[in-house]
C-alpha cells in the first residue's frame, strides 16, 4: 500500500457519463489484485475534501492500471475533468481482493451498473487461468452500457440486461440471472458487484441454488485504511470494515438489513 502521485495516461468516455482513467503507477500496478481499490483525491483545495474509492478496472502490465467511474456528484465530476498528463494523488492498492480457488471450473460474473468496474480485472485473471466464465451486466440503457471487450474472445459469453430493452434482455440483471440459471450449467462460484439491493437479491438466489457467491460491497468511507470506522457492515463473524476486511465478502457471511 502506497500514497503516491500517479500520472494520467488517458481519459476515455466509454459510455454516457462513464469514464475510464488510465494511470501510470508501477508501485500499485505491480501488486494490485482483482477486487482491490484505490483511494483518489478528487478535489485538491476544493470544498469536497474526502478521497473517493474506485475499484481497479484493469491492470496494464506492471506499470499502469485503469479505474472506471460514473459521474454521480462533485468529486466524480471533477475527476471527469482531469486531462491526460495531469497528476492524481492516490492511495492503494487497498482492500482484500477476490479469492479464486484452484478448484473452480465454471464461474458467473454479475454486474449492476458501474459495478462492472472490478469484474473486468477479475475476468482477465480468470481468462489467464483458463477458467470459463459468463458475464451478466445490468444497466439503465444501451447508452450506459460499458463495453466488456476482453480480447474479443469472450464477447459471446457477455449478456446485457437493460431497463428499457435497448440492449440485450429487457429487465433487471437479477431476472436475467434467473433465466441464465435455467438455461445453463450451474456455476461453481458467482462474483458480483453493484448496488446493495441487487447484491442482496443475487446473494439470496445464489444461496437458494447452493452456489458460492462473493460480492464487492460499497459503503461511504473516509480514510479507506481502516481507521475511521465509517464503512462498517454486519457479518456473521461480527462487524467488519468494508475498506480493509472487504470490499470482497463471502455473501453467506453478510447479515442483510
Amino acid at each position: 500500500m502506497v500514497h503516491i502521485k500517479a500520472k494520467v495516461l488517458a481519459k476515455i468516455e466509454v459510455a454516457i457519463d462513464i469514464y475510464k482513467l488510465r494511470l501510470s503507477c508501477p508501485k500499485i500496478a505491480a501488486s494490485v489484485l482483482p477486487g482491490q481499490f484505490v483511494h483518489v483525491e478528487c478535489g485538491k483545495d476544493r470544498e469536497f475534501i474526502l478521497r473517493r474509492p474506485f475499484s481497479v478496472h484493469r491492470r496494464l502490465g506492471g506499470n499502469a492500471f485503469e479505474i472506471l467511474f460514473q459521474v454521480v456528484g462533485k468529486g466524480t465530476r471533477a475527476l471527469a475533468e482531469i486531462e491526460k498528463g495531469d497528476i492524481l494523488d492516490v492511495i492503494g492498492p487497498l482492500g482484500n481482493g477476490f479469492e479464486v480457488s484452484d478448484t473452480v471450473k465454471n464461474t458467473l460474473l454479475i454486474a449492476g451498473g458501474i459495478g462492472v468496474a472490478p469484474l473486468m480485472f477479475l475476468a482477465e485473471k480468470l481468462f489467464a487461468g483458463k477458467i470459463p466464465f459468463d458475464v451478466l451486466i445490468g444497466c439503465a440503457n444501451c447508452k450506459k452500457a460499458v463495453p466488456f471487450d476482453l480480447q474479443n474472445i469472450i464477447k459471446d459469453r457477455v449478456f446485457f440486461a437493460t431497463d428499457d430493452g435497448s440492449l440485450g434482455f429487457k429487465g433487471t440483471v437479477t431476472e436475467l440471472f434467473l433465466n441464465h440459471l435455467k438455461k445453463n450449467e450451474k456455476p461453481d462460484v458467482i462474483y458480483t458487484c453493484g448496488p446493495k439491493a441487487m447484491l442482496k437479491q443475487v446473494a439470496l438466489i445464489a444461496e437458494k441454488h447452493g452456489i458460492a457467491c462473493f460480492l464487492s460491497l460499497e459503503e461511504r468511507m473516509a480514510c479507506g485504511i481502516g481507521a475511521c470506522l465509517s464503512c462498517v457492515c454486519k457479518t456473521k463473524s461480527g462487524q467488519k470494515r468494508v475498506c480493509v476486511d472487504g470490499p470482497i465478502f463471502d455473501a453467506s457471511e453478510i447479515i442483510w438489513e
Binding site: L50, A222, A227, Q239
Partner: protein, 304 residues
C-alpha cells in the same frame, strides 16, 4: 541552534506539539504503514468505553462543504480488549499515548479510568464529554458546567494520570465550562470536539446519516475552533490543546497564536495519512525562518 518544538502539557513531555485527534487515527496500526508513529508528539486513541460498543448504523459519514459529518457512535472494543490489543501495539513506540475515555454514566468513566491507570504505558487520559453521537453520555456531561465539573471531580479522584478534558463547542458559554473543569482538577483542556450537524437528501426525504444528526469536522469548523481556543486560553490557567479542521502547518499556527500549547490533527488524517509529519516539519521550518528558538514563543502571541 535548531529551534525546539518540545512542549510539556500537564507533565506529558512531547517531542513536538502535534497530536492525533481522538477517533481519527484508528488504533495507530493503520497509520504505521505511512508514518513513523514515534515521530508524533502524542497519539490520542479512539474513545474507549467499559464494554464493547457496536456504534451506529450506516451511513455513518457524509461529506459537506469543506468538511464531513460523522456519527460513528463510539464503536470500540471495550477497555480490556483495548489494553490487550491496541496498547500492546502502541507501547512499542517511543511516543506518549493518551487514551480517550468514553462513558454513559459517571461510574463507567471512573471504572475505565481506574482500569487504564493500572497500565504503566499510558501517559494521560482524555475525558470525552463532548461526543454528539451517542444518546446517553458524551455530550450529556459536556453541555453544562455542573455535570462537566462533577464528572471531572470523580475521574480526578480515580486516576493519578494527567487528565485532559475535551470540550464540546455545542454549548452556551464555553469559558464557564472550561473554568468549571479546571477547578474540578483537569490538568489540560482540549477543544473543540465536533459541531452538531445534519444533512438531508431532498430526493428521498431521508437524512444523510442513519443517526440523523452527527458531528461536523474538517476545515469548515476551523474558525469556530480558533475563536473558542482564543477565549478558553484566556479564561483558564491550564494548557489548551487546540483542534478543529487543521489541514496543514499554517492552520496549526493559527491555533498556537490563539493560545493553544499543542494541536491535534483529525479529519486531515483521512485525506493525507502523512499530514502530521508534514505539519511537524512545517512548524520547524516556520520557527527557523522567523528566527524563533521555540514553539512556545508563538503560543498565545496573537497581536490584537
Amino acid at each position: 541552534m535548531k529551534p525546539s518544538l518540545e512542549v510539556n502539557i500537564a507533565g506529558i513531555k512531547m517531542k513536538n506539539p502535534v497530536m492525533t485527534a481522538s477517533g481519527t487515527f484508528g488504533s495507530g496500526l493503520e497509520y504505521s504503514n505511512f508514518i513513523d508513529l514515534s515521530k508524533l508528539g502524542a497519539i490520542v486513541t479512539k474513545g474507549v468505553s467499559l464494554k464493547e460498543q457496536q456504534g451506529n448504523l450506516t451511513p455513518r459519514i457524509y461529506e459537506t462543504p469543506c468538511g464531513m459529518l460523522n456519527s460513528i457512535g463510539l464503536q470500540n472494543k471495550g477497555v480490556e480488549k483495548f489494553i490487550l490489543e491496541d496498547m500492546a501495539f502502541l507501547k512499542e513506540f517511543n511516543v506518549p499515548i493518551i487514551v480517550n475515555v468514553a462513558g454513559s454514566a459517571i461510574e463507567e468513566y471512573v471504572e475505565v479510568a481506574q482500569r487504564l491507570s493500572e497500565e504503566d504505558c499510558i501517559s494521560a487520559l482524555e475525558l470525552n464529554i463532548s461526543c454528539p453521537n451517542v444518546k446517553a453520555g458524551g455530550l450529556v456531561f459536556g453541555s453544562d458546567v455542573d455535570s462537566a465539573a462533577k464528572l471531572t471531580t470523580f475521574v480526578r479522584k480515580a486516576t493519578k494520570l494527567p487528565l485532559i478534558v475535551k470540550l464540546s463547542p455545542n454549548v452556551g458559554n464555553i469559558e464557564t465550562i472550561a473554568k468549571g473543569v479546571e477547578e474540578a482538577g483537569a490538568d489540560a483542556i482540549s477543544l473543540i470536539n465536533t459541531l452538531i450537524g445534519c444533512a438531508i437528501d431532498v430526493d428521498s426525504f431521508k437524512p444523510q446519516l442513519a443517526n440523523v444528526i452527527g458531528g461536523l469536522s474538517g476545515p469548515a469548523v476551523r474558525p469556530v475552533a480558533i475563536a473558542m481556543v482564543w477565549r478558553v486560553s484566556k479564561a483558564v490557567g491550564i494548557p489548551v490543546i487546540g483542534m478543529g479542521g487543521i489541514m496543514n502547518c499554517r492552520d496549526a499556527l493559527e491555533f498556537f497564536l490563539a493560545g493553544a500549547s499543542a494541536v491535534a490533527v483529525g479529519t486531515a488524517n483521512f485525506i493525507n495519512p502523512e499530514v502530521t509529519m508534514e505539519i511537524i516539519d512545517g512548524l520547524a521550518e516556520f520557527l527557523r525562518i522567523n528566527k524563533l528558538n521555540s514553539i512556545l514563543e508563538v503560543v498565545g502571541k496573537l497581536k490584537v
